[in-house]
Amino acid sequence: MSFSTELLIKVLVVLATAPVMALGLTLLEVKGSAWMQRRPGPLHVGLRGFIFPLATAAKYLQKETIIPNDVDEPVFKWAPAWVIAAVVGLFTIIPLSPTLIVRDLELGVFFLLAISSISTIGVLTAGWSSANKFSLMGGLRAAGQLIAYELPLILSVVGVVIQAETMSTVGIVEKQIEFGFPFVIAGQGIAFIIFMIAATAEMMRTPFDMPIGESELTMGFFTEYSGIRFLIFYISEYINLFVMCAIASTLFLGGYHVPLLPTEWVNFYGPLVLIGKTFLLAFILIAIRWSFPRFREDQLQTLAWKVLIPLSLLNIMATAIMKVVF
């Protein structure tokens, strides 16, 4: 198969899966929260409410997009594009199996961190261009939070890179298979927790949802967004949830691999295993979201700068010492 045909097929597959994963996670969220709150959740749309997310998306598609008079139109209109482009770009490096991957980049993890930092610009410009005080505050909070938690995110990955001696995602999974243990057990437990906390903050989910903080800032940086542009932010959020959880399972939980299953069949069970692990992690995040209030902006910054960053630096040092000495 030529490179271009292969690329075309892969892009089409991602085009199909990304929204499906987002909808799947939306369903998990609505059903999961309903279960936690002792209520039935969506029931009437389709099969016991199972196509509810699709119906929601369809609803947003035909909603009027209101663009307020005072906004900075080009910036306002294109702000969601930054976010969704960055998030979809990350699909490149998610390995479903050693071969089922869009592209196994040599700098895979580093690529992840670089690209995910782009969405900060989308959020900040969305907040600013809305010409709304709530949006501006939300945008600033979001940017302040995204940068504060990007560091622990980056630094917690370093431990994995030290152990795996590679930045390619497939390489990292293979290393874990070689180890016989996923990295979460083999020394990177703290890093995993830091990664998950930082990822939750990066996704702006409760308890780190001050940028949206609907009880304070009404809807934060997307207060003025409506209709389709709101949907794009919303879908990006869930695609991001999928990507982050998938990356976390790859880096720390052994990715597509499960012990005892024959490695030659990995192309068949790999995707299922990874998606299973991803949804499991996502469900934990959902459970956290529905049981915690949100932090205050200063408490959040304190947590990042005074706890997570020093801790992840210590983790790097400890891992490095282990690596060199033993």
Binding site: P207, E214, S215, W290, S291, F292, P293, R294, Q299
Partner: protein, 398 residues
């Protein structure tokens, strides 16, 4: 907020001390009237510097309905329907002090059974009000689950209220001299009327048991939550001197460490017959306000369970004239409502309706401390403080 320096007291400025300080200007932000967490249509005009609030001015009146004026052109029984709508989260409790005031002016002795029924329903109103608070307050600081649990539990209590009064929010159940027969009990002229619905005692016991369980659950889910604790502890501390000066009453006053509960101090309903405690806070912060209200639910459930046990028999209505005319006189009757002290100053000139009715509502005084408490707070704390005051706009604006 630029601070002016006293020229006489100014230290010598060295080069190092004249460092560049980037001062940012204050921004005026309207919070409300259409805002998710202002409990309706309260508007706060806040001057903020970044996240920090330099001053807040509440703007009221978006719900002002002029009840004091309306009451002057209503007969006494008609006023009861009005006062139901003041604090609609505990509509039943609003009626009590007004009815008690009118009875005092008319010098009517209310039958004991009617008193007990009033007491039970008042406590149910208190429980339902505090359930709403236990849902709304965490919601405001970002926890979305408790409100669903609270609403589910409150439903049982509201069902009981409805089964007796026929109304969930606005029962309009009290009559001068007693209470109405139970909802759907048929014409009141019958010889044998039914004052409480069938199975009421049993259902109440079950429901109160559930309330006690719910309180335990809330103390675990909300109070035991670390994020909730760091968001509420030492936030919005209200010293008791300030609270007294501003007429802040009810759970907020008790959270500031003042052991004052009209149920113990006053005798508008036979509370002295029951054994219950008054929960008090220590620091007067948002967490204490939450915990006082939550413990109060437990005490209320206990009171109801006791009242069910020794419910006296007898009539539920004293003898009153067909057309109620209140003799000339003035009185102030107050009661411990879920939100705080509610009182009515009734000036009667012997007419069909009051000459002047001053309605003292709890939330009005309670939120008048907002400008003081919010000065210098952070924006997220504004929401936490506002939520912890548990006000209802109908109770503020009347």
């Amino acid at each position: 907020m630029a601070q002016t320096m006293d020229p006489n007291n100014m230290p010598i400025l060295s080069e190092a001390s004249v460092s560049v300080e980037i001062e940012t200007e204050d921004m005026t932000l309207n919070i409300g009237p259409q805002h998710p967490s202002t409990h309706g249509v309260l508007r706060l005009v806040a001057k903020i510097n970044g996240e920090k609030i330099s001053s807040v001015e509440p703007v009221l009146g978006y719900m002002h309905r002029g009840y004091e004026k309306l009451a002057e052109v209503r007969t006494y029984p008609q006023v009861t329907t009005l006062v139901n709508r003041i604090d609609w989260v505990s509509g039943f409790a609003n009626e009590i002090p007004f009815i008690a005031g009118a009875e005092k002016l008319m010098e009517i002795e209310v039958p004991e059974r009617a008193q007990y029924i009033r007491l039970i329903l008042t406590e149910m109103a208190r429980i339902s009000s505090h359930f709403v608070f236990n849902g709304a307050f965490p919601l405001e600081i970002g926890a979305l689950t408790p409100i669903f649990l609270a609403m589910e539990d409150r439903e049982r209590v509201l069902d009981l209220l409805e089964s007796v009064t026929g109304g969930r929010f606005h029962p309009n159940f009290n009559r001068i001299g007693g209470v109405k027969p139970a909802a759907g009990a048929g014409p009141t002229t019958k010889k044998d009327i039914q004052d409480l619905p069938a199975g009421f005692y049993h259902d109440t016991k079950v429901a109160m048991q559930k309330v006690l369980e719910a309180v335990d659950r809330f103390e675990d889910l909300i109070g035991g939550n670390e994020v909730f604790q760091i968001r509420t502890k030492n936030v919005g501390v209200l010293p008791k001197e300030v609270a007294e000066e501003y007429g802040v009453s009810g759970p907020i006053l008790r959270a500031s460490g003042v052991e004052f509960d009209l149920r113990k101090q006053s005798n508008y309903l036979p509370y002295d017959k029951f054994d219950f405690e008054i929960p008090i806070g220590e620091n007067g912060d948002c967490f204490d306000r939450w915990s006082v209200r939550t413990s109060e639910m437990r005490e209320s459930a206990k009171i109801i369970l006791q009242a069910i046990e020794d419910m006296p028999s007898g009539p539920i209505q004293a003898k009153v004239p067909k057309v109620i005319k209140v003799p000339k006189g003035q009185t102030y009757v107050r009661a411990e409502n879920p939100k705080g002290e509610m009182g009515y100053y009734i000036i009667s000139e012997g007419g069909l309706g009051p000459y002047r009715l001053k309605i003292r509502t709890a939330s009005f005084s309670n939120i008048s401390i907002l400008p003081i408490m919010l000065e210098g707070a952070l924006l997220p704390d504004l929401i936490a403080i506002m939520g912890s005051l548990d006000f209802v706009l109908g109770d503020v604006d009347r």
